[in-house]
């Protein structure tokens, strides 16, 4: 087990190195620079700016310098949000996105598995049809539709919840529902189809033949295996949710990380972009590792360590 984790940690470093390299050179390939404005800057000022942000000199020297800064934990300065370092920006915004994403993660996982197994247990009844129809709605509608509609209904027409903002528990409700809705629906669909497949297997028939109660068969025997495809989806899900969603954050004016994802590309803010990508990839790899460990715990037929 220790060897397995060590091996994956080495893998994490390799993946991060590849991703940082790809991002660094992609940013250089993009047309336009970080200091392009309507009026061109005087040459000596631009030169000084480039020097301050360590963007001068041959590209491979820049790359080597950046890598060594990264190894010292310095994500460098943002070229757009002047005089703020990428470390500071991420330290301010990640906890916000993390809290919202964490709530949405729990809602999506618990709600999705519950709805999916409920639908599978009551296959071809109205419960099944209602659950799957609403799941299809939630999968088909983008969050920038669900969000404004929720605002229109619960904050404007029937003002029980705040329109947006950050800081109170009540202001968390609408954004986390908006963020969780499509994933809840996806997990519900995944759980249902995998549950239906598991329910046809021999060991379920054996369990029923032993005279176990219906709920014991469903939730103790079937769900344990049926949940595996859901578990493997949880890694990417966590990475996605915890790094924030620009749509949900802009609709509800939440000071999270999501906006930096998009704006750093549009502003040619290479170091901020790289910082966000590093966080995303680390989360992805770490959560995939957690998922693999969970897999071994849930299904003893899967061995990780050979």
């Amino acid at each position: 087990m220790v060897r397995f984790i060590a091996k994956r940690t080495v893998g994490l470093v390799v993946i991060l190195f590849c991703v940082v390299t790809i991002t660094f050179f992609l940013v250089h390939l993009m047309p336009g620079g970080p200091f392009d404005r309507e009026r061109k800057l005087p040459e000596h000022i631009e030169k000084q700016l480039l020097a301050k942000y360590k963007l001068d000199g041959p590209i491979f020297e820049q790359y080597a310098g950046y890598l060594s800064d990264l190894l010292h934990g310095d994500l460098r300065l943002s070229t757009k949000y002047r005089s703020r370092s990428v470390n500071e920006i991420l330290a301010d915004s990640l906890p916000v996105s993390g809290l919202l994403g964490g709530i949405a993660f729990c809602v999506a996982t618990i709600g999705g598995v519950f709805l999916g197994s409920l639908a599978a247990a009551n296959q071809q009844t109205w419960i099944d049809r209602t659950a799957m129809l609403s799941a299809l709605f939630a999968v088909s509608l983008p969050s920038f539709v669900i969000g404004p509609v929720l605002v229109l209904v619960f904050a404007i027409d029937w003002p029980v919840l705040p329109v947006g903002g950050w800081g109170t528990f009540r202001s968390l409700i609408l954004p986390s529902i908006t963020l969780a809705a499509p994933y809840t629906a996806y997990i519900a669909r995944l759980t249902r189809s995998s549950m239906l497949e598991v329910l046809t297997q021999d060991y379920i028939r054996t369990a029923r033949a032993k005279g176990l109660s219906n709920s014991s068969v469903l939730y103790k025997h079937a769900l344990r295996v049926a949940i595996l495809p859901v578990v493997s989806f949880l890694g990417p899900l966590a990475a996605n949710l915890l790094t924030g969603s620009i749509v949900v954050e802009s609709i509800f004016s939440i000071p999270g990380t999501g906006g930096f994802f998009v704006n750093s590309v549009l502003n040619r803010d290479g170091f901020l972009l790289a910082g966000v990508v590093i966080v995303y990839c680390s989360l992805l790899v770490v959560f995939n590792l957690v998922v693999d460990l969970l897999y071994g715990l849930l299904d003893h037929r899967i061995s990780l360590y050979d």
Partner: protein
């Protein structure tokens, strides 16, 4: 056999599928002919901002006094165009990639599939944004220097189709490869090989017909995914730009002017209805096709 009916009969007896097909047919007709049926002035900027729905403007007007019905129909045209062609590109790339990986097998297969895994790990949004911002100026420049000035306004649409098509094929490639791997070991392929048929003949005569059904099912499910992605990019302001329209752009415009004091509900409601009806119909159709054609999913 629990179900001896042919997939086609099964499809026609599924009311959700029939209804979805009808909705999609109507949406396609409206998108193709709708904008030309309205008076030519409908798309022009006027002073009549934010008129509520009336007999003159069935869907009301937007911030710039343009008829919203016209904008929604134009949006349908562009969103559906981007969705269908983008999905077709991903279909072609995914099938070729998956077939090569699955058929050649061995070392080539594992390298090709590791590449797919790596591409899965890069956040798609960033990939798309970088591709779009890098390629758009190039295409504009190429159009300007090759006497295609008239098309410059549409360069964003070409870029969107290309970029979405080129980032959406990963799942298709995985599905096709899996299918090829299981088909390859079956007896009829072995028989074809033993009588000395060429690789090309085996691929086109034996393998392709057996996997195309499944691939088409996933094509139907890719179209709504691409439409969603396009609307997302337009919502962020890197997609289609006015005076053109897409559903994402209309929704982004609506989200910007709606607030508690001014409830211009029609700006949100009509694009939402158009878009969600189309997406729901596509997903229903895809699910129905999958249930009817994909034997592994058959319950």
């Amino acid at each position: 056999m629990t179900d001896a009916r042919s997939p086609w009969v099964k499809l026609r007896r599924n009311p959700a599928v029939v209804l979805s097909a009808g909705i999609l047919f109507a949406a396609a007709l409206a998108a193709i002919f709708g904008p030309s049926l309205l008076p030519a002035s409908a798309g022009e900027v006027t002073r009549n901002s934010f008129l509520p729905p009336s007999n003159q403007h069935f869907f009301g007007t937007d911030l710039n006094g343009r008829d919203l019905l016209y904008r929604v129909l134009l949006g349908a045209r562009i969103s559906i165009l981007v969705g269908v062609t983008g999905a077709l590109i991903s279909f072609a790339v995914g099938i070729v990639y998956g077939m090569v990986a699955g058929y050649v097998g061995g070392q080539a297969d594992s390298i090709m599939m590791r590449l797919v895994d790596t591409l899965y790990a890069i956040p798609r949004l960033i990939f798309l944004l970088v591709l779009i911002t890098a390629l758009d100026p190039l295409l504009r420049h190429a159009m300007a220097t090759h006497g295609l000035q008239g098309l410059i306004g549409y360069s964003k649409i070409f870029i969107l189709i290309l970029c979405l098509g080129l980032t959406e094929w990963l799942t298709m490639a995985r599905i096709v490869r899996g299918q090829i791997l299981s088909l390859k070991s079956q007896q009829f392929v072995l028989a074809a090989r033993s009588i000395g048929q060429s690789h090309l003949k085996i691929i086109f005569q034996h393998l392709l017909p057996n996997l195309i059904g499944l691939a088409v099912v996933y094509l139907t499910l890719t179209v709504p995914a691409v439409i969603l992605d396009e609307s997302f990019l337009s919502f962020l302001g890197v997609g289609v730009q006015a005076p053109l329209a897409s559903w994402g752009l209309l929704l982004s415009d609506a989200a910007q002017v709606i607030n508690p004091i001014k409830g211009y509900w029609w700006l949100l409601v009509f694009p939402v209805i158009a878009m969600s009806l189309t997406l729901l119909a596509l997903n229903f159709l895809g699910d129905g096709l999958r249930d009817a054609l994909d034997p592994r999913q058959r319950k």
